[in-house]
């Protein structure tokens, strides 16, 4: 059969690389064929998610942050400093986390979706027009965020003025100084040319952009055991591939940006400098709990436990 798979990025961005590997594996190991639909070709994030729920698409990649309107608990990925920063710890976290591998699949199943995998897309960095090291430096700095209450809360807690703006307007708004900053993973800062309209990239280590790949549940359950296994294997192979692909991806993107714009300044805040931002996270946690109640608390607590396990496992 022909299976259709839509995602939120371009073909040569992280989600696209994952999708291509997944397609390659499926087509090598089964007699099915996969058509890929990159960003915008079948609609925005919420649209392709619905199309997957309706069974028009067999596979969809949607970042939990965008899933928040459907599965509020998924917004836990916007709570700052919840994910590990070391690549190895991060990989181990995603592979072994009980929250991700046992709790989230149930929440997705309630929405008619089979959660195949969640994977990190890279540390979120902040690009601005002026340098900053402390929350005070961000006073009156307008930073573009997605229209999401937790992100808005985060940047308020970081001392900035969060400014929700549609993505299409961000480049122009930075160019004309309506906003003075935005956040995204490094590869995305490079591919969307955000560096052309900002001058400083600062890594405060507050988050790692996470995404999720799902299959339509009815479709998945009606498959033969063999096909289901092939899909699971393809998802695992693509996960390994994407973790490997991302080794050095941030550095490679930094190199590309430096080459295109030598004046770009990169700063990584020290643990000490990060502390005030870390302290701000508790306000965001409170907001998350207020929005999601007991079920949110369960996930949040489990995530923290998983984080500790991953750290213990990889840093000893």
């Amino acid at each position: 059969d022909t299976w259709r798979y839509a995602f939120e990025e371009a073909l040569d961005e992280v989600q696209g690389i994952y999708a291509q590997k997944f397609k390659e594996e499926i087509e090598a190991n089964t007699d099915h064929e996969i058509q890929l639909f990159p960003y915008g070709t079948l609609g925005e994030s919420a649209d392709i998610m619905e199309q997957a729920q309706d069974g028009i698409l067999q596979f969809v990649d949607q970042s939990p942050g965008f899933t928040g309107s459907l599965i509020p608990e998924a917004q836990v990925f916007f709570v700052p400093y919840l994910l590990p920063q070391e690549p190895e710890t991060l990989a181990s976290f995603f592979e072994n986390s009980k929250a991700i591998n046992e709790m989230f699949p149930k929440l997705y199943a309630d929405q008619g979706l089979e959660l195949l995998t969640m994977f990190p897309e890279g540390e979120v960095a902040i690009t601005t027009k002026e340098p900053f090291k402390t929350p005070e430096d961000l006073d009156e700095v307008k930073i573009r965020t997605m229209t999401n209450p937790l992100l808005v809360e985060s940047y308020k807690a970081f001392g900035a003025t969060p400014t929700p703006l549609p993505w299409g307007e961000v480049y122009g708004a930075l160019q004309t100084n309506i906003i003075q900053g935005q956040e995204n993973p490094m590869f995305f800062i490079e591919s969307t040319k955000m560096y052309e309209v900002t001058d400083y990239v600062t890594r405060i280590g507050h988050n790692n952009f996470t995404t999720a790949v799902m299959a339509n549940k009815d479709f998945f359950e009606d498959l033969s055991d063999e096909d289901r296994q092939a899909i699971r294997d393809a998802a695992d192979a693509a996960f390994a591939h994407i973790i490997d692909y991302q080794k050095g991806l941030t550095e490679a993107s930094v190199e590309k940006i430096r080459e295109a714009k030598p004046s770009m300044t990169f700063t990584t805040l020290s643990e000490e400098e990060r502390q005030p931002f870390r302290d701000a996270a508790s306000e965001v946690e409170a907001k998350f709990l207020e929005m999601t109640g007991d079920s949110g608390k369960e996930i949040l607590d489990q995530m923290k436990e998983d984080l500790k396990t991953a750290e213990d496992a990889t840093q000893s």
């Binding site: 259709r4 639909f37 004309t176 040319k193 295109a260």
Partner: protein, 431 residues
């Protein structure tokens, strides 16, 4: 399937069905064929909603509203009187000013539909009075507005830049050359039109009269100040500038000029809503139709049959132009960019074309497509705003389309038209 869909659409269109029906029927036939029944039509509704979701669309009703208030009140008249005081004695002066105003307004507002309304709205009656034919006026407004695609900021270029991983800053600069070239050619055509049709000129205004005209236009000059100063000065996004213009127009016409009352405002708002709805239902239906084309991978099928991977540089550029030109005749330009750019990307890299040149060429085709029948948002907007029949709006287009196609061909053979400024601004990238 593609052939069946397009035939049905053309037949319904020609029979005089409301324009939304060919689009809805085309999408409907696509859905039914793809999914073997009516089972997935909710997705059609979803895509119709998605079509009118982009935040940039908000600028359209806002500029329609502001322009309507200005035209019903005194603001527009005073601004045009001022322009006329300076160019009224020149052959084709008013037409050339209109083209220039469309280009400039489009450049800052980033919306070609908004330009059709904001500049075309007030200027069309004045051009008619001056003796220009209505078809010429309408075609000039629609086509000059589309130059805005090429002059920064350009949403089409931003999307192309992201999809193809090309510098948006370079694209912006590369668009200026072809954009100005088109403006100059339009100006020459306007002059020729005025001469051939004997459009009368006004007597040259004295400097005293000019000064008086400027003084009368002082308040309304706040509009260009809000739009140009506000957007380039980093105070507003284009959408917000549009809303600010509405507010300013309301204040001017009700409090300063005392030309309008609450009842007039209500009527103007309602008429704005009506025009918006008439155009946006087509945007919505068009989005559902685009989805079908994309889902069925129709462009991929056509292009692989055409054998694009065996063409040289010039061949690929022509193939790209034709594909985008035809695509934009039927489908929303943004969707065309998102679908076609990745398909062409490998070939563009293989033959070693400059992605900035390709992006400029694509943006030009998108601009032409938006003004080209049968489906073009700017045509729809002109019909809705000016209440003129479809045929009358497009009758005057052929000379403009010829100029635009001429510039496309020139750009293919003389890429320096686009790359000259880019190479000046980004010396490292040359070659």
């Amino acid at each position: 399937m593609a052939a069946a869909i397009f035939s049905i659409m053309i037949v319904l269109l020609l029979l005089g069905f409301p324009m939304m029906i060919p689009l809805i029927a085309g999408a409907l036939v696509g859905f039914v064929t793809l999914f073997g029944g009516l089972g997935q039509l909710e997705t059609m509704i979803q895509q119709m909603m998605a079509g009118i979701r982009p935040a940039s669309l908000i600028a359209v009703p806002m500029f329609i509203f502001a322009a309507d208030i200005m035209t019903r009140g005194q603001s527009a008249g005073r601004l045009i009187d001022m322009v006329m005081a300076f160019v009224g004695h020149l052959k084709g002066g008013l037409a050339i000013s209109t083209a220039a105003a469309c280009t400039m307004f489009g450049a800052v507002s980033g919306s070609t539909q908004a330009t059709v309304v904001a500049i075309g709205g007030p200027l069309r009656p004045r051009m008619q009075k001056a003796g220009y034919g209505d078809s010429f006026i309408l075609a000039l407004i629609v086509n000059a507005s589309d130059i805005a695609f090429l002059i920064p900021p350009s949403i089409g270029m931003i999307i192309y830049g992201v999809v193809s991983n090309t510098s948006i800053a370079e694209l912006f600069i590369a668009g200026i050359g072809p954009g100005l070239l088109i403006l100059v050619l339009f100006a020459i055509y306007s002059w020729a039109y005025a001469v051939r049709n004997g459009v009368p000129t006004e007597p040259r205004a004295s400097w005293g009269e000019r000064l008086r005209a400027v003084r009368a236009a002082l308040w309304p000059l706040g509009f260009p100040a809000i739009i140009i100063g506000g957007i380039y000065g980093g105070i507003f996004s284009p959408t917000e500038a549009a809303a600010a213009c509405v507010l300013y127009a309301l204040i001017l016409e009700t409090l300063v000029f005392r030309e309008m009352g609450l009842r007039d405002i209500y009527r103007t708002a309602k008429s704005t809503g009506l025009i918006t709805a008439v155009v946006f239902i087509l945007v919505a239906a068009g989005a559902a139709f685009s989805w079908v084309i994309s889902f069925a991978q129709i462009p991929q099928a056509i292009l692989s049959a055409a054998g694009i991977d065996q063409m040289g540089q010039i061949g690929v550029l022509f193939a790209i132009s034709i594909a985008f030109f035809i695509g934009c005749m039927f489908v929303d330009p943004i969707v065309v960019i998102l679908i076609l750019v990745p398909i062409f990307a490998p070939v563009v890299a293989d033959v070693g074309l400059d992605p900035v040149l390709v992006g400029t060429l694509i943006t030009l085709q998108v601009a032409i497509g938006s003004a080209t029948p049968p489906f073009g948002c700017d045509i729809f907007t002109a019909i809705a705003v000016f209440k003129r029949p479809y045929m009358e709006v497009i009758r005057g287009t052929p000379p403009f389309i010829l100029i635009l196609l001429g510039v496309s061909v020139a750009l293919i053979f003389f890429p320096q038209i686009a790359l000259f400024l880019r190479d000046l601004a980004f010396p490292g990238e040359a070659g």
